[in-house]
Amino acid sequence: MSLLSPLFPALVLVSVTVYYLVPKRSRWTVLLAASWLFYLWGGLASAAYILITTVSTYVCGLILGRIREKNDAARVKKLRRPVVFLCCLINFGMLFAVKYWDLAAEMTGLSLPRLGLLAPLGLSFFIFQSTGYVADVARGKIAPERNIAKYSLFVSFFPQITEGPIGRYGALAPQLYGGSDLNFDNIRSGIQLSMWGLIKKLIIAERAGVIVNSVYSNASAYDGSVIAFAVLMYCIQLYCDFSGGIDIARGAAKCFGIDMAENFRRPLYAKSLAEYWRRWHISLGSWLRDYVFYPLTFTKLFNRIGKFTRKHIGGALGRIIPTSLATFIIYFLVGIWHGANYTYIAFGLYNGVVITSGLLLAPFFEKVKARLKIDAKSKWFSAFSMLRTMLIVFAGRYITRAPYLKMSLVMLKRTVFNFHPSALFSGVIADLGMTAADLIIVAAGVVLVNAVELTEERGTDVRLALSKKSGFVQWLCLALPLAAIVAAALFGGDYTASSFIYAQF
């Protein structure tokens, strides 16, 4: 089932009602039933993948728990390794087979058989989430879950399974199993958050995305300004679609009294690309940091590299190179997580190169700043940094959506050398299916989203502030978005709802 399906709110409504009707200690079973109903709605075929992940990580968790109980620290370290390795082999092997095998076969040029497997809903999300659980058990941060049904709920909790956020067992499990009390403030927050997500997704992203496909797939037919406009629309679409989806998910969870991790923290206000990645798809970034970056930097290999660079290069540079290398690897992984495609590999490299060079050149920038007497804390410099980050992100978006890598280069080239701003007003936007009304709605939507985000960036909780307004204003802020969503849902698109962009990742 998709989060946009009209059945989704129906499922939430029914399961929330039942949830608060059954005794507190059984409430988790309602979530479990709803989750499996949600997941299997589209067919039984995809159940195999989630079952393999559930069972393999559950069993590994139990074994690791047993190892921790029966052995001292040194022996635990030794014994846990093969278990974790096996668990990763099963799950990432499956992920690789489904998402990357065909690409790898193509890239290596070997005559390997193509699998042509279709990725089931949320494959990488539940694999990341449950292998994170296994790692936490291995590290002794949490005790393994003994009840496989309860554990299965952690893997399959329905609001988050399509597009995250990737949850941590320690934070999520107590909320899932505990059963919360009925609190209408939670229901209100949940509905508000979901509506906010639907506005971003249905009203802004859908419209912004109309021209993206045509322009990206045939860039040489358009002038640079049109391409740049399409890339801008893609940025808007991507953010509103993905963060909107997360808000719908978090809103649904909130109705059960469950707080899910934040996945976006106003990425527009990031002052560097590294910070951007700490604000965009946060749960993926932190997962990679905790389960890849740290372990990687503590490996023997990285130790040796560190020693080598300190000895032979020395200075700040010598200290920073191993971290930079790890950083590079992480962003490379971020790239290929998003898609099994050359474009995403290039996107990963792009991010890796920009961030790593930022790290490597940091001492130099400090000197420049000192020389030019720039106050890094001034408003102007912050604005400059934000703008610079936006541009870097913007340029990166040339890469990901193009059907193949060369097309993104064509697009960049045309943007720089054939900009022709007048082309933007030649009616081509309307020809591509974006009417003036669509443009106004997208622009108004972007202004609205930014107004809300700016308020939140300044530390004001918008929903809290709203709850202090008059009853009529509160009602308006409920009725207008609802009307807009209903209208968008009914009138939207070609009479059929489109699926989320992120569900394919």
């Binding site: 209100r188 709850s467 409920l478 609802l482 009138f491 939207g492 009479y495």
Partner: protein, 608 residues
Amino acid sequence: MSGKKWTAAFFITAAVFALLIVSFNVLVDPFGVFGDPVFHWDSYSETQNPRIGKTAYLDREHGKYDSYIIGCSSTSSYPVGLLNEYYGASFYNLIMYGADMQDVRDMVFYMADNYEVKNLVVNVYIDNGLKIGQGEDSLSSRLPAKISGRSKLSYYSDYVFLNPNYAVQKIKDRADDGLLSKPFDVFDVETGAYDKRARDAEPIGSLADYLDAYPVFADYPVSTPAMEATDKTMECLAAVRDLCMERGISFAVVSAPVYWDYFNDFSKAEVEHFYRSLAEVADFWDFTMSSVSFEPRYFYDATHFRNDVGRMALMRMFGDESAYIPEDFGRLVTKDNAAEAVEAMYSAYGEPEANSARVPILTYHHITDEPQSGTEITPEGFRAQIKALSDGGYTPLFFSDLEDYVVKGYPLPEKPVVITFDDGYMSNYEKAFPILKEFDMKATVFVIGVSVGSTERYKDTEYPITPHFGWGEAREMVASGLVEIGSHADDMHQWAPYETGEARENILRLPGESEADYVAAVIADFEKSAADIERETGERPAMLSFPSGKYDVLSQWALSEAGVRMTVGVEEGIAEIVRGLPQSLYAMKRLNMTDEISPEELIALLEK
């Protein structure tokens, strides 16, 4: 507001919105699911979804019918009137576009339980072998829930929470509705068939013209159809057959014509399996492949043939030989001859040229010693041209000869020609008639009704007019056997400067005139013109020359309602008429004759 209050406000607001949407969709009801309470527009519902729309219509009106012809959209082309005549029954054409045999089975079972059904004709089309049971996904091709057995909740919620664009569009379309069918109301409610009035009135013309109008035939798109549904299709058809036997319903199967270039895309093994399986289920009349399949002018596209082709098919089935039917068109296929029948499909052959004829139609107006315009000619010039025709071995024809060729299939002479005069000038009688007599050549004069006998004045004005002959002259010419009188409208060829009110210079609709008023005016005008001609000469004309050569589909249709079976315009060219397509007698091209055209040039023009 407390969280509780807010939540209550949310659900109340949501309920109000839902109620508004539901009311809108139910009241406007674009698919006719809820009985179309406001618009009562059956043709619209049927166009949106023929399965739902027609069931709703028949649930109300099935008392009018006792027999049905059913199938996918090619079914529409079998004229219900002819079926009624042959069966002595009252048929309804239950065409459902995209229908597969499962739709047919489900509809027939429903009808047999709920309506009176005496006769059932099932139209089986080659495409029925491609797919079955896929229509339920789409709003516009699913069956009513009570027939398909789909859950009522899922069925009605789809239409209750329909995209309001459908309803908005219906309201807009209502304002845009006209007399002839529009893309949003393509069905004729009474017969159930597609309303083809407009298409049956469009001119056909030469093959080249037709390919311009229907470019799909020029380079037919190649497809690779896979007949994966043959067995299931036949199971469904067998179920229908068994039901008919059980309920005593007469059951017939007809297999529709296919355009050759599309037919060739199918694999022969699959085609053979399809038609042999069909013969196992029931004997059937097969029209799949014949010389008809090779004539694009018999088709709208590869899968839809013209109503005249459907007419010929029914005539063949019922042994009606009152009109032309291509000899190789249709055969009764049984289990025993199925293999031969399939072979015959592959040896079918046709040449469009063989069933069509080029007929030059010459246009003259006034004959005078001092031609003033490009429509006038000197007596000498006229005589030279007629002599050239006579010497060249051309046989002059009346319009009825053309009709005999098209409708009855009679042969035409080797060098046919039709000589026509527009307006009915006295000079036609005084100058041309003697020359016609001299060479024993026939001609048709299209007279303007109100001008017959006006020798001095334009109608009842003081304005002078070129003299027109009167009924006496007309009778004399007709009596000679060399002249027939056609209509050039009674008073729809007015001369604007001499008229006081808004002039009707041609037969087209006036700006601001309603379609209904216009059609009534055209019919009345021709009725007057034809009645006068019949009264005075004894022959009621079935041919009309468009005043100023102007016409459109609406005017052509209105005229055909009035009984006009042949029309000519002023578009330059040699007319081409097609056997079996009376429609090819509409808006025929003509050649305008002047002194500029020497006798040699005329002959060269005709032989081009």
